[in-house]
Assembly symmetry: C2
């Protein structure tokens, strides 16, 4: 007799409820923020895509600020899972940086802006808890990169002037800017070229 929380062989999809409503809302909302911005989409847009009513959305997320916060939290969670996966799979610092840049490229291939880059542009108009989450996301990115940079400098695979922290910031801003500018052209190559050049400038001796 299965105890509570015991895993079974039956995958969640067998529930005939592929994804709970809350998760589907977050998925659609995330994409809309990345493509149109937080000020560029409405509850009606989300409801329309999910064929449900605005009122139902408000049951799951009472205010748009609640929805926005949850979108960032989900995004950040997945992003840092991806960074943990990179840490688990790769040890060579330059390879980690390439994998990091590839995360951005994947977002751009989906015709989206980095969620937090988009929200950074809209910073002055978003709810304050969302602001804090954006800054936290950027800080955590820099910390992860700084650790990689420090490691790479130590083993000679990377070389750069200044602190690892400052260089980490240059990487974040360089990649965010490359996404920002590449998107109006619909040209992922623009991003890839800029990213390649940016990482090449950190090549070890």
């Amino acid at each position: 007799m299965p105890r509570m929380k015991e895993k079974t062989a039956i995958p969640p999809e067998a529930d005939f409820e592929v994804q709970p409503t809350r998760a589907r809302i977050l998925e659609v909302g995330e994409r809309l923020v990345q493509v149109r911005g937080f000020n560029g989409f409405s509850y009606a847009d989300v409801a329309g895509e999910l064929s449900m009513t605005k009122a139902s959305l408000h049951y799951h997320f009472p205010t748009k600020a609640d929805l926005g916060e949850a979108i960032i939290a989900r995004y950040a969670g997945r992003f840092f899972e991806a960074l943990a996966a990179i840490d688990g799979e790769l040890t060579h610092a330059p390879a980690k940086l390439s994998a990091y840049a590839e995360l951005y490229a994947d977002v751009l291939r989906d015709e989206r802006m980095c969620l937090c880059g988009m929200l950074a542009a809209e910073y002055d108009t978003i709810p304050s808890r969302m602001r804090d989450a954006v800054v936290g996301f950027l800080d955590d990115n820099e910390s992860w990169l700084a650790a990689v940079l420090e490691h790479g400098r130590h083993d000679g695979s990377l070389s750069f002037a200044g602190t690892s922290s400052v260089t980490a910031r240059s990487i974040v801003s360089g990649l965010e800017g490359a996404m920002l500018v590449a998107r109006p052209y619909g040209a992922v190559e623009r991003f890839e070229t800029a990213a390649k050049q940016l990482l090449a400038s950190l090549a070890g001796t």
Copy 2:
């Protein structure tokens, strides 16, 4: 007896009409787009700041798209005037690049985002003529930078791998990204450090 259009010693301010209404609208609108985004401000915001009614704004700019187009045109005009001034005052390529970065820094010190960087983020939601103007602005920036880079490489004051065009794009995206990320922190130093590092990587042999 003064002929038409002949210049007088009386400055325009003596007209007791310091700036025509149209120009004041554009000035306020420009700042609002740079701070809050095109989707983040309304005719009511502009009207409020100028102590006039929304209806009067519509007399000067029938639609918000008209206003947006005019804002970009004015901004681009002033920006390229500034580039022409740089060309007139400086010949050393690295000095020109520093002056170029300083234009960005000045915008950021005013707590604004680059107009076209902001509109690049909102790209998918802005009127099509505004989109074209944004891309044109980016193209013209790259052209100017590419010319400076080409010149600097020729006289040995600059050194970089790849074409001047690709490197120009890296500069634009690097500076735009540095602005984007620095603004949530309200920290101009973040931008300055990133810009310095970016330009230093182009130092000549």
